[in-house]
């Protein structure tokens, strides 16, 4: 890096984003499939396409390559490509200038390439260079047995693959399953019942696809294209992965009700952007299973109206700070957790942001005012000292240590008061049963 800067001071550098590069390579692979049925990614920076029997459709190999380059250039990319009889030769040539090796001229066409183009490791390439074999042509001319003995069978395999003595097929990777179905209608529809009927058909197909791949949908999106090319969208979330058409359709009815059909809807598209694995299981068997299903349906219904982040469950956390000793998690994305054992001092049944206490006298206070009510202490239990978590800067805990007291008042309420000795003050934070 320093050397590169010394040579060219205005060098602009950016860190490599491998994940995004891989993603764009996948996109490019899908595009290249217009040239060949079998396209696979080749290393981290290349694609290999098996164009056997395809070239004549484009008018020949050279025309195919020109077409490819013209299109890639129009997209703003720079690429090198090579066409050869074998995968090894195409790999080697594409990384050293590109071009076309005509049929039957593999040895001649690759003779000038360095041995490192053979897909061998650095140590082998260095070893070959040390004995004076720096080009592939030199290697081909050598007797095979001593080469194999000295550099291993792997080098010979690579050489055979380059020259076509060993087969090396291109296998296209499996496409990830696509969970989307569409339907175009001969006549525009506007009635809610018609949309729901269409949705039912789409759901049947989508759920069949989901079942085939053992997946369940967590989010579903219904796009309705109107005659005037406007698009209405209805999106629902599900409390747990699901692929039951009838239960999903019921959740859509409210969203479909709100859609403005305009002059009519002539195309529908249903997709599942978020899916989760859902192995086949026996559903609707016993009362326990039915209870689970009904509860999931209820959470879905509630979540789709008030938002899934407002349907919460209490879960314990590992902290002594009262407000962080538990957290509220979305019920749709969590399982019920068994309550922790009760031990140590009592905890209030309800908790709130601490509120100030006025006219407090004594320690613990004998008399105080809270929420404009007068209280007299009948009994006080405490103190329980809780220290702030120094690794966590909480504005509410900036006043330092807290001494918690359980105060039973003569008026009835049993309150959870705390005193902050480092900044003398009394506050209420909870109410006991």
């Amino acid at each position: 890096m320093a050397d590169a800067r010394a040579i060219y001071p205005d060098l602009s550098t950016r860190p490599a984003n491998l994940a995004r590069e891989a993603a764009s390579l996948v996109g490019l692979r899908r595009w290249v499939s217009r040239y060949a049925p079998m396209v696979a990614s080749d290393g981290t920076d290349g694609l290999i396409a098996d164009i056997t029997g395809v070239a004549h459709l484009f008018g020949g190999e050279a025309e195919l390559q020109d077409d490819l380059h013209a299109r890639i250039e129009r997209a703003g990319l720079t690429a090198l490509s090579a066409i050869a009889d074998t995968r090894g030769a195409a790999y080697a040539l594409a990384r050293h200038g590109g071009g076309i090796i005509p049929e039957g001229a593999l040895a001649k066409g690759t003779a000038h390439l360095p041995v490192s183009a053979l897909r061998i490791d650095h140590a082998t390439a260095d070893g070959l260079g040390r004995v004076g074999l720096s080009r592939i042509g030199d290697l081909i001319a050598q007797p095979r047995a001593p080469l194999g003995r000295r550099f291993g069978a792997f080098l010979l395999l690579r050489l055979d693959q380059l020259l076509g003595y060993q087969p090396e097929p291109v296998s296209a990777g499996t496409e990830p399953p696509h969970f989307g179905v569409r339907m175009t209608l001969p006549e525009p529809i506007g009635l809610q019942s018609d949309v729901m009927a269409g949705l039912a058909r789409l759901l049947d197909r989508l759920c069949a696809t989901l079942a085939l791949h053992h997946q369940g949908a967590r989010r579903l999106r219904l796009e309705l294209r109107r005659v005037d090319h406007g698009t209405a969208q209805v999106e629902i979330g599900l409390a747990r992965p699901m692929r039951d058409p009838a239960r999903i359709a019921a959740l859509f009815s409210k969203g479909v009700d709100e859609v403005d059909a305009g002059f009519g809807i002539d195309a529908m598209r249903l997709s599942a952007p978020v899916t989760e694995p859902m192995p086949p299981e026996q559903t609707g068997s016993g009362p326990a299973q039915r209870h689970q299903d009904d509860l999931a349906d209820l959470v879905s219904r509630l979540g789709n109206r008030i938002g899934f982040d407002h349907v919460l469950r209490l879960a314990p956390s590992d902290s002594k700070i009262p407000e962080r000793s538990f957290h509220m998690t979305a019920a749709a994305w969590s399982e019920p957790v068994a309550a922790p054992l009760r031990r140590g001092p009592l905890r209030p049944a309800t908790l709130f942001l601490s509120e100030p206490v006025t006219h407090a006298s004594g320690n613990p206070p004998v008399r105080f005012r809270w929420r404009r009510m007068e209280f007299t202490t009948l009994r006080a239990h405490g103190p329980e000292r809780i220290t702030p978590e120094w690794w966590f800067d909480d504005p509410a805990w900036r006043s330092g240590l807290r001494d918690y007291w359980r105060i039973e008042t003569r008026e009835g309420p049993r309150l959870w008061l705390f005193h902050t000795p480092q900044a003398p003050d009394w506050r209420v934070q909870g109410e006991f049963v």
Partner: protein, 201 residues
Amino acid sequence: MTPLRDLTHRTAPADPLSLLKGRVHEAEGPGRRAFALFQARRHSGTVLWILPAYEPQRPMLHGLPEGVSERLLVLTPKNETDLLWCVEEALRANPVGLVIAEPQQMLSLTAGRRLQLAAEAGQSTGLLLIRTDHGSAATETRWHCAPLPAPDADSTLHCWSTKKNKKGTIGSWVLNWNGTSAAFDMVSAAGERSQPAQPAC
């Protein structure tokens, strides 16, 4: 014309503190949340606690009665309309045992009646924690709940009284419930004693 359903066969439960199933009840007063937790402990099935998103006073996990936190769902809708919708939807659902809700505004008769119909359809119990005198006339029972100062450190006294009861008489109960188990003790009315009790020896 459809005949009206005979409502007379539904008798009030024997235990005065249990809430009639399939109906919506109301509780007010400073101890209403304790009453709600007491009822949550006594009901099986999922318990829903519906309170507005801006309400700062929320249930605390470590202070809940035993066996409630696993089946408790807390719903925090943003406005009053959503809150009532949630109550109705939850009451209609099958797996729900008890729905506790904290509406902030006065309930109209229409809203109260709708909730009663929903509870009847789902055979679940509703308990609305209302502000004093903010209830609706459609409620089955209305409780006034207040914590009482205890004479000794081991007891936790509550005074729960019915202000309204559609299927029975009203009454007032003082009981000792410590907020953890379902067990509780009825405390008999305190009489005036001229002398301290003699120790039984």
